[in-house]
């Protein structure tokens, strides 16, 4: 794939979920992303091959946005090699599930929380707002952009055999290692962040000691409530009551 086409597909892939809806899911986005490659089909834009290929690509599709490059690269190559349409459609169907679940496990359930905890740690260490924001965005997007770029290259390189790329060690073992790192980050970040948020008093005073006792107790309650009450609802109730108490008493 030339640099121009790579950049075109890559930049469009950043907006792949722009028309996400409950009927096509990310289908229109796949068509939107693959479209620059389809212009190279015989007959060019508006030709029969182009129109038939674009019509195939906008059908229902589901994927994690960061791993969509695997599908975009593979589908672009398959269309340019004029693989039989039935085979392309079977491939699309088969690819939907794995891309979604692998991406969710790696990115939403592992990488994103880990980077959030890095940001909390930076805050706890006393960094300025700008440093916290830049630190978080840098760390997160190194992983984010690498993954998108790798996926697009791997999709193009492997074509319809792209399933082999899903065996990449980062996809297979990444969530486990990132999970362990997150446990360490979480343990370090929370006491430091809470201490800064309450104004950095001596930890042996009654209020910091109270926080140190109450926080794990409430956390245990929230873990035990799993599935029955989300934390943000509990906090909303607690803080709304607290506001009324403080203002009306």
């Amino acid at each position: 794939m030339g640099v121009g086409l790579f950049l075109s597909l890559f930049l469009r892939s950043l907006a792949i979920q722009g028309a996400w809806n409950y009927e096509q899911l990310v289908g229109n986005g796949i068509g939107f992303c693959v479209e620059p490659a389809l212009r190279r089909l015989p007959g060019g834009v508006g030709g029969t091959a182009y129109r038939e290929a674009l019509a195939r690509q906008v059908a229902y599709f589901n994927t994690h946005p960061y791993l969509a490059g695997l599908a975009i690269g593979a589908l672009a190559r398959a269309e340019l090699e004029q693989v039989p349409p039935a085979r392309i459609e079977r491939f699309r169907t088969a690819l939907c599930g794995p891309l979604g679940s692998v991406g969710d496990r790696l990115v939403w359930a592992a990488w994103l929380p880990a980077c959030s905890l890095v940001a909390l740690l930076l805050f706890g260490l006393g960094l300025s707002p700008m440093a916290v924001v830049i630190g978080f965005l840098l760390v997160y997007n190194v992983g984010h952009l690498w993954l998108r770029g790798w996926a697009l290259r791997a999709g193009w390189q492997h074509g319809l055999r792209v399933a082999t790329a899903l065996g990449h060690p980062v996809l297979q073992h990444g969530p486990r290692y990132i999970g362990r790192a997150s446990a360490v980050l979480g343990g370090l970040a929370l006491p430091l962040a809470v201490h800064r948020a309450i104004g950095g008093p001596s930890p042996l005073q009654p209020i910091p000691l109270g926080v140190a006792v109450a926080t794990p107790l409430l956390a245990v309650v929230l873990v035990r409530l799993q599935g029955r009450a989300e934390g943000w609802r509990v906090v909303l109730l607690l803080l709304a009551t607290f506001v009324l108490f403080s203002v009306l008493r």
């Binding site: 409950y22 229109n28 479209e35 107790l217």
Partner: protein, 245 residues
Amino acid sequence: MTASVDLWRSGSEVPVGLLGPVALAAGLVGLDVVSVPQAMISRPIVGAVVGGALLGEPLAGLVCGVALECLALESLPVGASRYNEWGSASVVAGAVAAVGATEAHLPAVGALTISVVIGILAAWLGGWTMVRHRRLIARVARPRLDQMAAGDRRAVVGLQTFGIAADFLRGALLGALLFLPGYLLADAVDRRWMLGEDLSRAVVATAVAAVAAAAVWKDFHAISGTRRLFLASLAIGTAVVFLRV
């Protein structure tokens, strides 16, 4: 120059001139949640700093953003599920947290508490608007399905552009609708706040930190060894707090 209007009985100046910038920032940050580019400028710790910075108090925005980030840790933005939209919400919350910031540029306790409450409510409302936005795109796509099935480039690119533009408007409207009421509420609550500053900050910090701790535990406890790692690093983190003071 920032326009201000003396709307409040107490004489507070409401920064009406900042309504546009807050709405614009909420729209742009809201876009990042799903549509483009998902670079996580929509995380609360970023969005709230942007909101606070618009009112000249980025540190107040950061403290509010840290609280909301703790809450956002427990929700995974997975595909078709409904989840809170923390992007636009955190811009509004960060701006509200800047009301009456202290000399040390920390948020005033009443404003901090209200900004977290408003951030949660705005995120919930934002999640609801995201569902409506997705249904709207499907409704706009339906009459164009024949064109798409015929490989019409304009229909495909047009739907993508419409979805992105509508998402921007969704976030901007959310920001525009919630900023001034939130600002006024924070100002009113802060003026009537009776409890001590230390205790008030401690209550907010305890509540959000417990959610974050529970989220970390729930996310990773199934991976072998992580429970011990978490508890050991929690002990180290606490020890560092003692050593740093």
